[in-house]
Symmetry: C2
Subunit: 231 residues, 2 copies
DNA sequence: ATGTTTATTATGTCTACACATAAGGAGTCG
DNA sequence: CGACTCCTTATGTGTAGACATAATAAACAT
């Protein structure tokens, strides 16, 4: 079948030559035209192949300077961040959601500073649990800006989780995600089964829409949780 | 002189329409031909723009089904993982490296299992510190497979860090990266200034080359460290 | 020797066109 | 009604050619 060579095949061969072949770290590759000729493809296709390999982090490309193999190849890691439900159901486990607490209050100072809220802005504070096969998997601590999203005050989050509700309700224009290690507080001890002070892997995500704060969420994970990616 | 519209401009407009405009979550976009006509570009360019926006995680594309706005837009997070030296020097701080300990031993059982080593394989065990302006920033705990890399036994790591040495010496074909929260052990207490049991943000990276284990490294960070990314 | 201009060159990107491929949907048949 | 086939359609990808742009290197002037 493969009469024409695809850019994917070219990519595979390029990566092969980088990882196991003659193109060691730091070495300079031949130019696009020369490579295109060697592989029997058009320069367009060769360009696509080289661009994609470069996006994978293997190559460094600069006009005039040429294409060079990166010294430190793994400069970026992509992490899939599925919705909890999907992450749990993918493992074959059964997903269950539970609302722990819900309150509408005036935003505390630290939250105002963190999310650039105005004084006296009201927020909805939610605490929820996500279970995998009945075992607590993730504790969600979420703040929603009620000034920007008045609907959030009416919304009853006992059935549908705030994440799924938000995602279907409001767009976003700015996102900030952090990974960090925290010490288990009383709430985590109560719901996730940690001992007080245990290290907990947390993801914090802040979202804005047109400069207005939408939501801040901290996701605390069960003990021993790892976020892993492979190449 | 922007006589011709670039795919980047098209991308920006598309993202605008998704995040703040008429194309809400779940909505179906017009076909490539129609959009190309509207924007006054070729289908090739429109395809490139849509493909890249889709790679950013905003769109879902399927043949025949068309292009649809993702319900959960932030499905993947990209984290830059620079070499420590670069990460530190980027902040303007001065970088310093120090070798703490070095030993050549037979691989312990847990390491053999973790890295698929053969029985009685020897490994080089290194502990190193990376300082930013004289303050300990990262503690590196590294194992190098001496059977696959005999040069590592000869190498004196007192001046140049093992990471920089490895990167310039050996290629790789398989990488596994994990993020996790661990409790500070004695070594971290001694070198990073934690209290025993404090939560520590760790990165673990395992590397193979042609199915042979190359190295396993755990990078423990100073207290309060966060890995952050923004959109 | 040093700073400035100019040419060269490799990558970046747009266009127009053609064919490939996956998958939804209509129509057909048991 | 269900299962199958076939057609249609939107995206996926390859080609050839042209111009744009950044960055190095060479030539030049100070």
């Amino acid at each position: 079948m493969a009469e024409t060579t695809t850019f994917r095949e070219v990519m595979a061969e390029i990566i092969q030559r980088i990882t196991e072949g003659p193109w060691g770290p730091g070495s300079l590759l031949p130019g696009e035209v020369e490579l295109a000729e060697e592989f029997g493809v058009s320069r367009t296709t060769m360009n696509r192949a080289l661009r994609e390999v470069s996006e994978l982090g293997f190559l460094d490309r600069k006009r005039k300077a040429g294409t060079r193999v990166r010294m430190a190849p793994i400069r970026q890691a992509r992490f899939e961040m599925p919705v909890v439900r999907a992450e749990i159901e993918k493992t074959g486990a059964q997903y269950r959601y539970q609302l722990v607490s819900r309150a509408v209050i005036v935003a505390p100072d630290w939250l105002r500073a963190r999310m650039r809220l105005k004084a006296r802005d009201k927020v909805v504070h939610l605490v929820c649990l996500h279970f995998a096969d009945g075992v607590a998997f993730q504790l969600e601590d979420r703040w929603i800006n009620a000034s920007a999203l008045p609907q959030a005050v009416e919304q009853d989050f006992s059935a549908v989780g705030p994440n799924e509700w938000l995602v279907a309700t409001v767009p976003f224009s700015e996102v900030e995600i952090s990974f960090l290690a925290a010490a288990a507080d009383a709430r985590m001890v109560a719901h996730l089964g940690h001992a007080p002070g245990d290290p907990v892997f947390c993801i914090e995500r802040a979202t804005w829409w047109q400069n207005a704060a939408v939501t801040l969420v901290t996701l605390a994970h069960r003990q021993g949780y790892r976020m892993t990616t492979r190449y």
